[in-house]
Subunit: 725 residues, 2 copies
């Protein structure tokens, strides 16, 4: 689809969706079961079945319905032309074929924010696409921005606006939620009502004919009512822009994303559902990590993280105290904390003394702090006070199990009192084990203390707080913005690549790849191509024994399997003989192959790594680094980042490897020069950004030996010079 | 602690705890906040605060209280002697010092089942231990079995018996729960009431002075009212017996275990809480896997699995259909299914036709089956019928998101109708997204369809059903019982090991280990110890070039780091020179080391594996197998099993490795003879069982080459011959 030029992004344009003075609903109805009815009820009364106008949108609501008439006691207009005044925001819920005309009509009445609820464009095939293009063309001509089509709508809870067909409106709060699934919004609203979770803006992104995730992310970043951003993504339209926007946003507000389509079958399901490319999960993972987006792996983890951020301060460190009236759940918390990398605070002597004063003699005197099953509100109060005052404790996970002597509600009240009276800005998450839907839970939720029935979720909520604290400290300590200075490359490199493209080369030979590497300043082992046994022996002398030998032929794809590779050749005689053997084997294995010679390679022993770059359709250039050799596919111990990279980001890639101890010289492995490796990663990223025609680049292995680091093999793919559709 | 001989296990002995005719409660009270009050209320009325005797235990309840008097309108007896008739079951809730005497008294009145609620023995230190021993001595003398001390008590829900101080009683059902944490029981009861989960028996295991997990597991296995067993474990007393019992039980009933203390800090917390050894998590993991115990990683996964098993049939395969009224949650289910290894059913043409008939034209025509957001009860009914009838679908995960047109309760009712009317015994789990505590949920729960607010949990519940189905089929297809036939070992091996022990040897030299391997029939590479450069050269000729050389010295622990190892020696001259260099290096690195010679080893190139055996204090002999070399600690790609092993179990160990494709010859690696490897694992298991004095055995690496499989290094540790305390 090709659309007219998108208008420049403006905060004010988007704000009309969330703070309009007036809203027109075209396709309004009062017939039960119709979308136009559900939206009208939400606009007028805030929920289905409500009839109290004071709970609806406080601004003007103008229902438009071809039949005119009165809907829920409110005057409806037969057409937009009849509206008594211009409107800011128009919601359209009419069949797709009518939508373009309605867009023109509402735009004529001043609407610059248009939400198209109507779905089914995609299912109409080509005609649907044309309709959608027409919608965008008309909106752009009028300077209006469009949400949808196929959206549940928007909720601007602080403004009292529910312009969606969700069944009800959640309470007010600091979380804003962008979702590619309208149904997920409806589900989360139900859950939020039950769990007292408050929202600011909720947007169903729909089919993104105009506004997309990036536009809305940028809006929410500036929206003063939004503290925390949660996003449900099936497929981004422009991954790179999302990445760049998110990377800026997290400096001000935390983002948690739930990305579905992680698995192949999930991606297929997402693609068939959204009609868009679900993309490569590794690229999403890299983009989230690099941008600082917290990735949730379940819906409830997303909600738990968002709620924790919206209600609790971030801690200054990761040392957690677990306060519990039962040992078992304390152990469970300790396990979960360890699996997330949280530390258990080591209680100081003065904290132990303070706790001794308020606890029975048999208390655990360690962390988890087991205050014993008969703990009442007083004991919770005193021990919580001691922990809030303890400088060695950064955050507290409080567990209360409902035993015979437990007073959940009074305990909850005391907890709130203590926290509110404490000068310490320390986060607290709570679990009242197994308790769902009871007053103690409501009390904590209502007072901004996230409470869950299972302690694992409370520990994970604390982990989200800790990770956000770490992120903020890291952002303050280092420059996360990518270096965009043009990397200096030999001018010959550009000419050489241009020449290859002109010659129609896409899969470069090893010799061509070697030349690219040499011009780009990427280190490779010595290698000489020989065309006779004698030349091979001479070559071996020059690169130094032992050598490896490999057939040079464009037709031979699987060199090892064709007998085209020999290793560990220690003498000139062996090398000469190997030359003949390789030619013979390859001739047998691949009849008709043109053999350009046999490469005689310097052998470098050491740790085998893998280094590469690729081009993702959504995110653009990616750099990959990890452990190489035969285990690369088995353990997938690799990390990805979007190019260009900062040096800090390159170091993050090294640190991320599970096999990092090997790079540090564990078990007799050669110690890697990490600064040099990081510089190499940055260089590769700069290379593919400077020369985007390099579609893929692969070094497997990159060997770290006792004497240095160099590429042993190189594969380079160029973009097809013919324009790609 | 040493106790009198444990009585032989008898079903009838344990059944007295769960189906007594009469119960005495010693330490009964009516003072609010006392444990004796809570238990009495539970016995009489089924819950705290209840006063309806018809909801309590239908048999006789005899409160015993030193003051006599009347408690809650029921006559209390001043002593056991005054009880009007013998009692079956006595619950004791008096301070520890009084417990032994009370045990004698209740036993004198016929009680053969005694539950000691009283805690605090452990905290009394030595005197507490003595008290506890005295309790056991007296109980055994009387032929009574004891639960506790420090137990919350037992609930036998089917029998109407709540002999615990939990706050209330859950509803009746097929799940029995053994828990080492009483608090977890109280929390789960609250949760179960909210989520309509039914229980049969609930036992708080307490400090296990007599009855332990194994006794109770065996009871529940035979209990006709128990369908599913859930266990919360912090530390087992006898891991091996638990393993053996569980392995038998799973043939009849599924077991799900939540084991805490997985992490180091968790284990420390568990140890300080239970005062017992939390043990090595790898051994627990091996035992659970090998016995067929399903391991849950959160409390709610344990509950979800148990509830699914208790209410749904197991499927005949792993092909799942996801039926949903929204695309997003469908994708989420597909992701979760893929991450668990579940397959998405590929719908047949006839199923597609059946669905076409009942769904709007724009339905997804694939799995997930997206029946569109406006799906009402009729559409759910018709599509569910089609899927229940589809032979290519083994199980169904149904998702319903609350959209404007959704009718949750009516949909729930229709689902129940369809399932109940269907002849297909196919499992169904449901998620009504975000919906907590609403009539639709209650309806499904009450009709045995597990419903959760988040689809991930519904997919995991389905996974538990699928895994149980797979387990039952596997149990039917193969003999899971270990081979216990005495493995035939060379008689000389026993003599040799005996001699080593007699000589006080514990850490064997490589030469000694080689001899053990040779006698045990475990293949090793050729190796000759040389004591001069000339001998070394001769040795190299005999084993074949190239060779590796390694210093032989008991004092040199880190042979590589001391310069005591050289590899890739290709000529006699190199070997002779290496001999001298090794001696010189080692002399410098470890002054005073006695150098017994230098081993000249056959070099075997191939995939490096690791193979070992160890002795776990709880589970006994374990066999370990995995990928070796420098990555062993990094990727921890190893599997463990308890010895002895069946051949099938040994094959499971191979199959479990992530690097299994390497063994299959991926990426040019030599293809391993898996039958031979499996036989080797069985042999190692038999070896350490036959000769338990072998405390540890380690082969790193075990090399799979193109010509065979052999050990290249061997480390053997023997038990100290001096008796171990």
């Amino acid at each position: 689809m090709s659309f007219a030029l998108r208008p420049a992004w403006s905060y004010e344009d988007l704000d009309r969706f969330f703070h309009p003075r007036s809203v027109a609903l075209v396709g309004a109805s009062d017939k039960p079961g119709k979308v136009g009815t559900a939206i009208l009820e939400n606009l007028l009364f805030g929920a289905a079945g409500e009839r109290d106008r004071s709970r609806g949108f406080p601004g003007k609501v103008y229902p438009v319905n071809a039949k005119g008439a009165t809907l829920f006691g409110h005057k409806a207009f037969a057409s937009c032309a009849e509206l008594p005044e211009p409107v800011d925001f128009a919601v359209i819920a009419v069949p797709p074929p009518q939508v373009p005309e309605v867009v023109t009509e509402v735009a004529a009445r001043g609407a610059r924010a248009i939400s198209i609820i109507s779905g089914g464009f995609g299912e109409l095939g080509k005609p649907g696409e044309a309709l959608q293009e027409e919608v965008v063309r008309r909106a752009r001509a009028a300077g209006a921005r469009v949400l949808g089509p196929n959206t549940l709508g928007v909720l601007s809870v602080n403004a009292g606006l529910n312009a969606s067909f969700a069944r009800t409106t959640p309470r007010c709060g600091g979380i804003s939620f962008l979702s590619q699934s309208g149904a997920l919004i409806t589900g989360l609203i139900e859950y939020a009502l039950e769990e007292n979770i408050g929202f600011s803006k909720i947007v169903s992104i729909g089919d993104k004919c105009d506004l997309d995730d990036v536009d809305l992310l940028r809006y929410l970043a500036r929206d003063p009512e939004t503290q925390v951003i949660a996003v449900y993504i099936e497929a981004l339209r422009d991954g790179r822009s999302f990445f760049e926007a998110a990377r800026e946003v997290v400096r001000r507000k935390p983002i948690v994303a739930y990305k579905s389509g992680r698995s192949e079958s999930g991606a297929r399901a997402a693609a068939s559902h959204t009609g868009s490319l679900a993309g490569n999960d590794a690229a999403y993972a890299a983009a989230f990590r690099q941008a600082g987006v917290f990735r949730a792996d379940t819906i409830y983890s997303m909600v738990d993280a968002a709620m924790a951020w919206a209600s609790q301060p971030v801690p200054v460190g990761n040392r957690i105290a677990v306060l519990t009236n039962a040992g078992g759940p304390g152990v469970i918390c300790a396990d979960e904390a360890a699996s997330l990398g949280l530390g258990l605070a080591r209680l100081s002597d003065s904290t132990l003394v303070a706790l001794d004063k308020c606890l029975p003699a048999i208390w655990s005197r360690g962390n988890p702090i087991d205050i014993i099953g008969d703990a009442g509100p007083d004991r919770y109060e005193a021990s919580l006070q001691a922990l809030l005052a303890a400088p060695e404790v950064d955050g507290i996970v409080l567990v209360c199990t409902p035993q015979a002597m437990t007073e959940p509600l009074e305990t909850a009240k005391r907890i709130v009192q203590v926290v509110e009276a404490s000068p310490a800005r320390k986060p607290l998450t709570a679990s009242f084990l197994g308790i769902v839907h009871q007053p103690s839970e409501d009390w904590l939720d209502a007072h901004g203390i996230p409470e869950r029935a299972f302690p694992e979720r409370s520990v994970r909520a604390m982990d989200a707080l800790v990770k956000r604290g770490e992120q903020l400290r890291r952002l303050a300590a280092r420059d996360e913005r990518p270096v965009t200075s043009p990397a200096a490359f030999d001018p010959e490199l550009g000419r050489y690549l241009h020449g290859l493209a002109a010659a129609g080369r896409t899969t470069l030979t090893l010799a061509e790849a070697r030349r690219v590497f040499a011009l780009a300043g990427l280190p490779m082992n010595a290698s000489v191509v020989a065309t006779s046994p004698e030349e091979a022996a001479r070559a071996a002398r020059s690169v130094g024994f032992p050598v490896a030998m490999k057939v040079v032929s464009e037709q031979v794809l699987h060199k090892s399997e064709s007998g085209g590779v020999k290793v560990g050749l220690g003498t000139e005689a062996e090398v000469s003989a190997a030359y003949d053997e390789i030619r013979a084997s390859v001739r047998r294995a691949v009849p008709g192959a043109v053999i350009d010679g046999v490469a005689v390679d310097e052998v470098v022993r050491g740790t085998e790594l893998i280094l590469g770059a690729s081009t993702d359709p959504l995110f653009g250039k990616l750099v990959m680094f990890g452990m190489g050799g035969i285990f690369v596919e088995v353990y997938k111990d690799v990390s990805f980042r979007l190019a260009p990279l900062t040096l800090d980001e390159a170091h993050d890639m090294l640190d991320e490897l599970r096999a990092r101890p090997i790079l540090d010289g564990a078990r007799g492995a050669p110690k890697a020069d990490k600064d040099l490796l990081a510089a190499l990663l940055v260089r590769v990223g700069d290379l593919v950004r400077a020369f985007p025609q390099i579609r893929e680049l692969d070094v497997n292995p990159l060997v770290v030996s006792r004497t240095g680091t160099m590429a042993i093999d190189a594969r380079v793919l160029l973009e097809d010079a013919a324009p790609r559709s």
